[in-house]
Amino acid sequence: MTDIEEKVCDCLVRAGSTFRGDQKEAYRRAIAKEPGTSSCWVMQQVLDNALVAEKNRGPLCDDTGIPHIFIEVGPNRQVSGNVLAQIHAGIEAGLRKLPGRPMAIMGDDYHRIDQSGGLNPDSGALAPSPILIKPVEEDVLRLTVLMLGGGPAIRGITQRVFHKHSVQVVIDEIVARAIPAVSQLGCSPCTLAVGIGRSQFEATSMMMEAMAKGNYDVQSEFERMITDRVNESNVGALGLGGKTSVLATFAKVGPQRASGVRIVALRPCCCFEPRRATVEL
């Protein structure tokens, strides 16, 4: 393997098997808030699971997720076709090493839609999503792997909000969409990922960046308001009731249209997400 392939492979394994320090602390704070409850028992299990997964470098969850790649490119760095090919090879190797759950559906368009073409038993056959690339001022070539599971994808919503020239209206709508999404997810406590943009593509790109960069220790007032409001729903861990339905909100607000509409992408990330790791290439 090339140096880039090895780094990407290792990064993917870390993304699928490791809680970051701020993520562990977020769980410890949540556990301390409601000792002796069913919710507390679940969150302790999730944290214990993370420690075992990190030690064994094995999957946090059996739905190991679809790899999504976010790349930051500094002014003097390049992303060539050759670099992209090495990144893809590193992802393939990482999926085999984790190991990822074999989830590549085979066949033509029709076969892939109705799943009649069968599953490829090779974990490495799972194609990553299109790559998101962003220029940054820092002179780096930095890659983040995010492993996105199916449950949050089912409950995620990307839709317009008529803002009526009020941030509160947008927050109210995000909360109204998030509560049933968190409740139906099953694998709470969630981290809410929110992107706001001018189109569905831009809003989703903002949401991806929020997932790639969000930090449980650094929450804006906007993010805290959403978290606190959704936690009033008392969904709790695994829906068993409790104070912590949402650990945090990671939000990114992009450029906005001169219009009465905002496009909001919302993903109720499950109790292990955002599963992510970062490496400099």
């Binding site: 679940v42 094995g58 759950r101 099953g186």
Partner: protein
Amino acid sequence: MIELTTPFTEEDIAKLKVGDVVSISGYIYTGRDAVLPKIVKHAEEGTLSEVGVDLQGQVIFHTAVSPAGVGPTSSNKLEIESSFEPLSRHGIKMHLGKGAIKPETVKALAENNAVFAVIPPVTALLESQTEERDVVCYPELGMEALHRIKVNKYQAIIAAAKGESIYK
């Protein structure tokens, strides 16, 4: 913590109530959307023995069995939740998964002295507590085939028992 070993007796299940944390050991079955309707059909037609399945006192864990490990899928998916009543009637004592189930499913469990237990999706922990994995039938379904696995102290919380549910 209530220690349980499969196969469960009627008395084992009768004493369980919502909110109890249980530890499960022994052989259990796994299956989800793809295979459970087939097992229900065998149960209703009296042909379970032809596919090597004995449901008496057993647990069905709603999971795939893949190289990535095991972990609960949502038990309220149509094909899964609709298996609760017939499989309980034919001997399953514990359905193991996650997510809120309907009131009529809670009632059907009670009528058959069976329970629903929620298990957190802790694949790494479960991997260290899973000792054997065998395909029982429908191998063509791959990770979604009916498997029998041997487990050691899986922890779960009773979410529906005696007509009551932990989900408000």
